[in-house]
């Protein structure tokens, strides 16, 4: 009995340890994106001034902005920008294949995917949106607390070799971001995307790859194993396979792009060797455009 609390505490601390750095890093990354307040770019219910327009017949007197109208002969109505909270759901692949890193000083792909998801979440929360994870009890919510919960949840690792997205919890007409290496079977991805499209969910696919996966710098007699060890492939001259491997990778990317185009999503491929900033900017703008 005496050992239980310390063990629990130890585990809890181990679990919480990556949280502040991840969140801090995400905040830091998000801080570099200062695009200002993002209204909905149309008139609606909100606090921010949008435009003055000449008053039509039917506008209530209450709506007339007298101060503006006093400067001219016509009446003007002050319109406010429509500000409505949008919900964005993230699916971050937690399969073991995401734990791969091609070099000792490079973080695994999963780290990058989590960082991107959380940084974007920070940005979105700051803009007043609701964010969540494609997990049973992580429905989109607003606020800093949600960021903490997401960070905690993102740190969990899955057990399967390759991950598959789960589109069941997506609210209709919401936005979604899938971050994965998409090296597993494409069937579930396709299913999830079609299901999401059916519900009017749009979003972005981010393929996170390690540069080694892009370059295949292997040679000689080699046995390749998947991260979980379930799949094996032996070759005597790995260098010979490079061309065909790269061709298959390109085909996969084309397939994903095609899928995204069909469902109205957007697709990009991000390498862990590149700075995360580029991908974050792309994601931010991609979501903006999808939103508009």
């Amino acid at each position: 009995m005496t050992a239980a609390p310390p063990a629990l505490r130890h585990r809890a601390e181990g679990l919480a340890a990556p949280l502040p750095p991840l969140l801090a890093e995400a905040e830091h990354l998000a801080a570099t994106v200062m695009l200002g307040e993002h209204g909905r770019r149309r008139a609606g219910a909100g606090d921010e001034f949008w435009q003055y327009r000449p008053a039509h017949a039917g506008d209530g007197l209450r709506l007339v902005d007298w101060r503006r109208s006093a400067r001219s002969d016509t009446h003007f109505v002050r319109e406010r920008e429509w500000q409505a909270a949008q919900s964005v759901t993230f699916w971050v692949d937690d399969a073991r294949s995401m734990a791969f890193s091609g070099a000792r000083d490079r973080a695994p792909k999963a780290d990058r995917a989590r960082l991107l998801a959380l940084a974007l979440s920070v940005l979105l929360v700051r803009a007043g949106e609701r964010v969540g994870l494609a997990a049973p009890d992580m429905a989109p919510r607003a606020g800093q607390v949600q960021l903490m919960r997401m960070a905690a949840r993102l740190c969990d690792d899955g057990a399967s070799d390759y991950g598959a997205p789960d589109a069941t919890g997506l609210p209709a007409h919401a936005r979604a971001v899938f971050l994965s290496d998409f090296l597993g079977d494409l069937g579930p991805v396709e299913g999830a995307l079609t299901a999401a499209a059916d519900r009017g969910v749009k979003g972005a696919l981010v393929m996170v790859l390690d540069p080694v996966e892009e370059a295949f710098p292997f040679d000689g007699r080699t046995i390749f194993e998947s991260m979980g060890g379930a799949l094996r492939h032996e070759t005597l001259r790995a260098g010979d396979l490079r061309g065909r491997y790269l061709q298959r990778l390109a085909e996969r990317k084309d397939r994903l792009e095609e899928l995204a185009r069909l469902t109205g999503w957007r697709f990009t491929c991000h390498h862990t060797g590149d700075p995360a900033m580029g991908a974050l900017m792309w994601l931010h703008q991609a979501l903006d455009r999808v939103r508009a």
Partner: protein, 940 residues
């Protein structure tokens, strides 16, 4: 042992293992390199892909070959391969190993020892009694035969001797051998010499003889000759027909700091079939005098080293005679006969005493100079105490002077009686006197006195208890003719007659030259003959060993001159060095003679052997075990195999950088460049601050002041020079940089045209070195402005404390006579026209006195005082205070009152400008007096 051509195997059975190589080949071929296991998520994309080539599951052929090579090298290596295995020929009966062990054996001595060791080992295996004997040092006792073990411990102690076996060695050998029957192995040095046939006859009478000879030629160097300014060297070789066509000859001696080093180097080329090669070297006298030995580079043996003696050295002799205005009376010149005698054999120096002493002469000859100044006397005394030889000749002036009359003059060996005497003249009794034969204590002992040397006048020595001891040559009536006295390490010698033929016929005779030579004033132009050496006991200074290494002789017994003479003679039974007379440098008094292995007449001839005598070279039996080399090869092959295996399995990628680096390190070891750069860095660190001072002082004109140690005075001096520099900058083209404070003890003065020296009562006296620097500075044209800063209150008596201090400080300085600045001194008009030279005070200023014969040119307002910047300007006006400015350029000190004070400050600045102009332009303004004359001539 199995042999295969020139290759032998100690364990040939092991070679059978080579048969296993095909099996190994098959095994290696069947086993492909082990795979690498990689975790890789992209494996999904690889599933189903097939390798296009399938052969590579076998080891590549070149890797196979590499591995087989490594295994083969190991097998062959352990089977003990030997290149050129020695063939042992057993014999019976006693064995005599006879070694020449002369200087010529030294060239191959380690091989001699190896060969003797091998012979002893063979004899030991065969159980033969052995005797080892050297011909060059055949011990008086008999040669005894003992077990080989007894001798093998003594082989390392055998050394070659720096001489050849004596001609009569056959008799000694016969006596030593007795009636023993023996087989002989004779390790000859390859040179023919008398007595060799006799030795062979003695040996052949006792049993078979085998000769072992080095095929390398023996080289020797004849003594250097000095003729007409060139050093001639001759190298000898035997046998003459040899592929080696040239030898490098080096000259060694101490450098100025006394460290032995190579001084010169030349190459002598042998003609085809020629036994002699000549080389002529032209060297500066300084360098030549320092040479102690010549040597054939990269050769061992006493014969290749030739020590030098007086024959090569030229002494530097300075000649001084009283100046007289007469010309054309050359035969009467006091120096004429000295010049004639010394010119061919010494380097002569002329000039004043101070100039001469700078040239560090060995001898100074004063011909009829009665008196030298006190300073010069001190310098000469110091020089003599350091080993100089002062030779004085009497003459009318010395006789007329009162030098060394009452008490002994430090530069004279004896006291003199007034007047001297004349014998055999028209107005005196008696005939001119002849010389007495020289007694044994005299350095002239042994010289024959010619009949025709007579003395008709001389100066007489005062009878004195020490006179008998100091006289080294006497007239027939016992009056001393030549006296000498030791002073420190040197001596002073007085010839009581003139150096010309006025008082005696001595300078006309050959004896004069011989006496000069005995006094080591001159040196022999050629090698001495035996007769020159007789009469003295020669002690060895340095001797050579058989390898040609020169070492101090230590306590060797002296050698009789006759024996040395016989050894130096080119021929005869006692020619050349021997057991009691090793080659080296022998000295008697100041004379030195070098005894070398090869004399001037030495020739080398190769030894000839009768056809019945088998002659072997030293080289043949050289076993080379190859085991180590082969095992290294195997190791290298295995290392390469590691890299190759990595490359084949694709694992080299990551390792490539590190592996290449490691390989490079393995092959080359640590780079020596590292040490070099470190040295350079250290050298740069140690670059003295002097360089920085020199750079600062020479990049621009810089005024300097002497640091007195009193911070206030130094500060004012610095500010004063800064103010003066600023004034110069504003008003003239002289644009000085910031002034520098100089520490007399450490800093070099030569960079500064001008030194300001404020003198305080407590100023420390500079050290000797600082004085030397100051004098050098003043002689080289520097100027010092001494400032006592006391307004010269006591007048120019220097009776103020600072003035007295200045006197004390300046006494050792080379300062000419002074006078107050005359009205027409160039200082009054170098830039401004000024007549007084105020600083904070207004007092008199002293400069170098103008020449007494300076005259005012007609129509000119001032005298024609050409030449020379006054080396010192002395005053007490505290100029620095008047010049001083603070950082903002404002005057630092109060000068006078009101406008008059400002005026005084201005004049002080003008004096400063004039002074610096005087320093920098010299008497340029003085020369302006010639302008009208020049213009007039140009006009024509």
């Amino acid at each position: 042992m199995m042999t295969l051509g020139s290759l032998g195997f100690a364990a040939p059975g092991l070679l059978l293992a080579l048969l296993a190589l095909p099996v190994v080949w098959w095994l290696l071929r069947a086993v492909p390199p082990a795979p690498v296991v990689r975790r890789f998520p992209g494996v999904v994309l690889l599933l189903g892909l097939r390798d296009s080539e399938t052969e590579t599951d076998r080891t590549p052929w070149w890797l196979l070959a590499l591995r087989l090579l490594a295994i083969a090298a190991v097998i062959v290596g352990f089977s003990g391969p030997v290149l050129n295995p020695a063939e042992r020929s057993p014999g019976t009966g006693p064995l005599l190993i006879l070694i020449d062990a002369s200087w010529a054996s030294a060239r191959d001595w380690p091989r001699h020892q190896d060969r003797v060791t091998a012979l002893l080992a063979d004899a030991g295996r065969a159980g033969r009694p052995v005797a080892v004997a050297t011909l060059s040092e055949l011990a008086g006792g008999e040669i005894t035969f003992r077990g080989a073990e007894y001798w093998s411990g003594r082989v390392a102690g055998l050394v070659p001797r720096p001489w050849a076996p004596p001609a009569d060695v056959a008799r000694a050998l016969e006596a030593a051998l007795g009636a023993a029957e023996t087989e002989t192995v004779w390790l000859s040095d390859g040179l023919d010499r008398p007595g060799r046939a006799d030795v062979l006859a003695v040996l052949e009478a006792r049993g078979p003889v085998r000769v072992i000879e080095s095929p390398r030629p023996a080289l020797a160097l004849r003594p250097a000759r000095f003729e007409s300014g060139l050093i001639h060297l001759e190298a000898l070789r035997s046998p003459p027909a040899d592929s080696r066509t040239e030898v490098t000859i080096t000259a060694h001696g101490p450098d100025p700091s006394g460290v032995e080093r190579e001084l010169a180097r030349g190459t002598a080329a042998f003609g085809p079939g020629a036994a002699v090669a000549g080389l002529s070297l032209s060297l500066q006298p300084e360098l030549r005098n320092r040479i102690t030995r010549f040597q054939i580079a990269a050769e061992r043996g006493a014969g290749t080293v030739s020590l030098t003696d007086d024959g090569l050295q030229r002494r530097k002799v300075a000649l001084l005679a009283p100046r007289d205005g007469r010309e054309g009376l050359e035969l009467l010149s006091p120096l004429f006969y000295l010049r004639q005698a010394l010119e061919p054999v010494a380097d002569l120096i002329d000039g004043g005493i101070d100039d001469i002493l700078l040239a560090a002469p060995d001898v100074i000859i004063l011909a009829d100079i009665a008196r030298v100044t006190e300073v010069e006397a001190d310098m000469l005394t110091e020089w003599m105490e350091g080993g100089g030889l002062l030779v004085r000749f009497a003459g009318p002036r010395l006789a007329a002077s009162d030098v060394s009359r009452g008490e002994l003059d430090p530069l004279m060996p004896v006291r003199l009686r007034a007047g001297g005497r004349t014998v055999g003249g028209a107005m005196s009794w008696g005939a001119p006197r002849q010389l007495e034969p020289f007694d044994e204590t005299s350095p002239f002992h042994g010289l024959a006195v010619p009949e025709d040397v007579t003395v008709s006048a001389q100066v007489l020595a005062q009878p004195d208890p020490e006179l008998a001891q100091r006289g080294i040559a006497r007239l027939a009536d016992g009056t001393p003719l030549v006296t000498r006295r030791a002073i420190g390490q040197g001596q002073v010698v007085l010839f009581h007659v003139t150096a010309n033929a006025e008082w005696s016929t001595l300078p006309l005779s050959g004896l004069f030259v011989q006496m000069l030579e005995r006094l080591a004033i001159s040196t022999r132009p050629a090698r001495p003959d035996a007769a020159d050496l007789v009469g003295a006991t020669w002690t060895a200074e340095r001797v050579m060993d058989g390898f040609g290494a020169v070492a101090p002789a230590g306590t060797m017994a002296g050698v009789d001159g006759a024996a040395l003479g016989a050894a130096l003679e080119g021929s005869g039974p006692d020619a050349g060095p021997g057991a009691g007379l090793p080659p080296g440098v022998y000295a008697a008094d100041d004379r030195r003679v070098a005894l070398n292995v090869a004399g001037a007449g030495t020739t080398l001839a190769p030894a000839t052997w009768p056809a019945r005598i088998p002659v072997e070279g030293l080289e043949t039996a050289r076993e080379t075990p190859l085991k180590g080399a082969l095992l290294s090869l195997a190791f290298v092959a295995l290392m390469a195999d590691i890299l190759a295996a990595l490359a084949v399995s694709g694992r080299l990628m990551a390792l490539r950088g590190a592996a290449v680096l490691a390989l490079a390190l393995l092959m080359h070891g640590p780079a020596p460049a590292h040490a070099q750069t470190q040295d350079q860095a250290q050298a740069q660190e140690q670059a003295p601050s002097d360089d920085r001072l020199a750079l600062r002082a020479t990049a621009e004109v810089v005024l300097a002041h002497v640091l007195t140690g009193d911070p206030r005075i130094d500060q004012v001096a610095e500010a004063g020079l800064r103010g003066l520099s600023r004034t110069l900058f504003e008003r003239t083209t002289v644009e000085p940089a910031d002034p520098i404070g100089i520490d007399l003890e450490t800093d070099e003065l030569a960079f500064f045209p001008f030194l300001y020296w404020p003198v305080t009562e407590g100023a420390p006296t500079p050290s000797e070195a600082a004085y030397a620097r100051l004098n050098r500075y003043l002689r080289a044209g520097g100027m010092i402005l001494f400032d006592t800063r006391d307004a010269d209150m006591a007048g120019f008596g220097f009776s103020s404390p600072a003035g007295r201090r200045l006197q004390e400080i300046a006494r050792p300085l080379d300062i000419p006579p002074l006078e107050p600045v005359p009205d027409d001194h160039v200082l009054t008009r170098t830039f401004y026209l000024i007549q007084d030279f105020p600083g904070r005070h207004t007092g008199q200023v002293w400069v170098e006195a103008s020449a007494p014969d300076a005259e005012r040119a007609e129509g000119m307002p001032f005298r024609n005082l050409n030449d020379g910047v006054s080396p010192v300007v002395i005053g007490g006006n505290d100029w620095a205070a008047a010049w001083a400015v603070n950082e903002r350029g404002r005057p630092m000190m109060q000068i006078g009152r009101g406008a008059a004070g400002d005026r005084q400050r201005e004049i002080a600045h003008r004096f400063g400008v004039n002074l610096i102009m005087h320093v920098l332009t010299g008497n340029y303004k003085s020369d302006q007096v010639h302008v009208p004359a020049l213009l007039e001539r140009l006009g024509q």
